[in-house]
Symmetry: C2
Subunit: 170 residues, 2 copies
């Protein structure tokens, strides 16, 4: 196992940021930061006895109203059975509405109800608040680097999904 230096070949440029130690720090930063990232919504969700899966569903339905179950499935990267359980409770609780497709009656199009939209707002307000504080602390240049590295960390299909969402939203 190469220790302390990457196996990528050490050119003239400074590649010190690619040492195993640097990479390990990044890995641990990612671990701790993700806990912070989810902490605020998690607290809110716990009171409603929902979990992260509910949050994710609500987020992406809000993001793309009328999306189909299949669509959501490919974004979330879970099995349809797993998603279905979450959707069932959200529909049962009146946060999400499921409409049979007009063109294709096999499809279900998903929408947030007013109540669902309210919860979405609460959750994303909390998450954005932390994000905003972090961005502000770190500054615009750091944010650009942050996004660049995150995008490079994704699998190809995630990058596609991410890009698609940005098209819609920007």
């Amino acid at each position: 196992m190469p220790e302390g230096r990457t196996g990528q070949g050490y050119s003239g440029e400074s590649l010190l940021f690619l040492t195993d130690e640097q990479l390990r720090q990044g890995i641990e930063a990612m671990f701790f930061a993700y806990r912070g990232f989810t902490a605020d919504p998690d607290r809110i969700l716990a009171e409603l006895s929902y979990g992260r899966a509910h949050h994710r569903a609500i987020h992406f339905i809000n993001r793309s109203p009328g999306t189909t179950v299949n669509n959501l499935l490919s974004i979330l990267g879970v099995t349809k059975q797993s998603l279905n359980r979450v959707l069932r409770t959200l529909i049962g609780d009146g946060l999400v509405e499921s409409k049979v497709g007009e063109l294709d009656k096999r499809e279900r199009h998903l929408y947030l109800t007013d109540q669902g939209a309210a919860l979405e707002a609460t959750l994303s307000d909390a998450q954005r608040a932390r994000m905003r504080a972090a961005y502000k602390d770190a500054g615009p240049e750091a944010v650009q680097g942050f996004k660049k590295v995150l995008e490079a960390m994704m699998d190809a299909d995630m990058r596609r999904a991410y890009a698609k969402l940005r098209e819609t939203g920007a």
Copy 2:
């Protein structure tokens, strides 16, 4: 709910990177990137019928050999019952060794066995490989920004734990 612009007050400087839309992009990037971040170790772990919890324990025991259960507990942020279940299997499978403390016999000090260290190496090689590729893609400046934002995203206690680990390792 303010939409499109943060509520922080818009000074003369460019704060466009703090718009709700920008923050949402960051949130989604974080979501997708974390999937990528864990994907490679997850595949390896699945074959051994271990999970992320095992990976985390192995990682931090490797990081701080001889650490106590309590210490690990505060880093991982889970209950002792949850950690104990994981440790029990790892010790039973001969990947982790638990030694009664010499000074304080209540404490258990945790070490990786050779077999445990081998798995740790496999897992972190896989995770580092992706990290290295992402870092290389994004470049040194981006990496600096990446770490800066992640650190700003942590809770105070996580930041402490993270800093402590960096002391040891650097």
